[in-house]
Amino acid sequence: MRGDIFAFIKPRKALTNSNSPRVYRTEGIVLKGYDFGEADRILTLYTPQLGKLRAIAKGVRRTKSRKAGHLDLFTRSNLLVARGRQLDIITQAETIESFAPMRIDLVRLSYAHYVAELVDAFTVEQMANYPVYATTVATLRRISTAEDPALSIRSFEVQLLGLMGYRPQLHRCLSCDTAIEPVSNRFSPKMGGVLCPLCASEDRAAGPISVQALKVLRNLQTNEAAILQLPELPLEVGQEVEARLQEYIEYRLEKGPRSVRFLDQLRTEGARP
């Protein structure tokens, strides 16, 4: 509709209405990108109202590009996007938040890669999910400043799984529905939660989960703020929580996140004298 200036600022309308304006405004985080053509890059962005979005940023590989610095990986920017025939074109970009401290620390940076990879792997294009956006921004912020970024990552994994509909059941046995007691229980990635000792045979692949790890996971689900205030988890509990979540994510995605390999490499190399 001509003269409807509000259509211009409502991005959702821009994608669904055939009479919609040729440009729309949105903010977004750059999840990944690859080089395209002479000096362009095709970016995958996550936006608050449009969900995951692929768009082309023209000329950003030239040193004189006005957009390049605002469209580097993991930057949160305000964008002006023009509708293209196949791909939308980013015409203007301005940084809102660059999470600068994370960019000069290799470990924090690798965590950011992992966060972006998970968001990309779990979401589909153009399906809005504002909480996913909010959690991603909050996590990137925490990664750049938190003393122990690993804890923020565990929290992010639990939140994202929940938002995607894969929230693991940690309070009742998945088979007999009785309350889980603080004994040696099992965690089943296939069934999506905990099995009591009596039902362990329901999924023979389910590995044991300690009482402490289960507590941490439950708290990450329901009492995230309290957990995030801890300086760090005891090493063994942290490793166990990480391993169980990793198994579950791998089962859900049907593949292991690729950025984990580099993180592991950094950790083993860092441990060397």
Binding site: K32, Y34, G37, E38, T63, K64, R66, A68, G69, H70, D72, L73, F74, T95, S98, A100, R103, I104, D105, L106, L109, S110, H113, Y114, A116, E117, D120, R258, S259, R261, F262, L263, Q265, E269
Partner: protein, 199 residues
């Protein structure tokens, strides 16, 4: 039955597999070659064949070359004590164009990108460390791209190289010539401020 002769379709098909060349451009190029003198087409065919037959990677710097060690590595006037680490062979060309650098190079053939599954093992990093053992190196200049992947690669290399007692430097970063201050992002501007120099 196709109206186009088979040899023509074949060239069109092959050309349209090149980056940036669509079916129409491929057709135009094919018909151009068809009308061009035979020598021109032969020269092109020969050049392409030679490209695949005679171009190799330099055993030292992994730049693309027609003989190994390459011209730069075997040039006695270049300072072997300085190694400039770049991502791609084209970056060597860019730095050579400045005419300011008299040292040698090392081409990584990529940058660390965990999300794409490219880690240090996929790059020529082990080979770089090998070079440091066989030659006396004073300075390593990290000239990876000024983006996040390039930075990650530079940070990773710094972690490996600094304990060896070699001076590790990174190309300065800031505002490009002919740029507009108002469009600079905050990271570039703060880098430019941090790296300001007295006139």
């Amino acid at each position: 039955m196709s109206v186009t002769a088979k040899p023509i379709t074949r060239v069109v098909d092959e050309l349209s597999r090149l980056p940036g060349i669509g079916p129409k451009t491929a057709q135009r190029l094919t018909y151009f070659l068809l009308r061009a003198p035979a020598e021109q087409a032969e020269a092109l065919a020969e050049a392409v064949l030679e490209l695949k037959r005679n171009v190799v990677l330099c055993e030292r710097c992994f730049n693309i070359t027609d003989r190994t060690p390459c011209e730069i590595c075997s040039n006695g006037e270049r300072e072997a004590s300085h190694i400039c680490v770049v991502e791609e062979p084209l970056d060597v060309v860019a730095i050579e164009r400045t005419g300011q650098y008299r040292g040698t190079y090392h081409v990584l053939h990529g940058a660390i990108s965990p999300i794409e599954g490219i880690g240090p093992d996929e790059l020529k990093i082990r080979e770089l460390l090998g070079r440091l053992q066989s030659a006396q190196v004073e300075e390593i200049i990290l000239a990876t791209n000024p983006n996040l992947e390039g930075d990650a690669t530079a940070m990773y290399l710094t972690r490996l190289l600094q304990p060896l007692g070699i001076t590790v430097t990174r190309l300065a970063r800031g505002l490009p010539v002919g740029g507009d201050l108002e469009y600079a992002d905050e990271i570039t501007l703060s880098n430019a401020l941090a790296g300001r120099s007295q006139i």
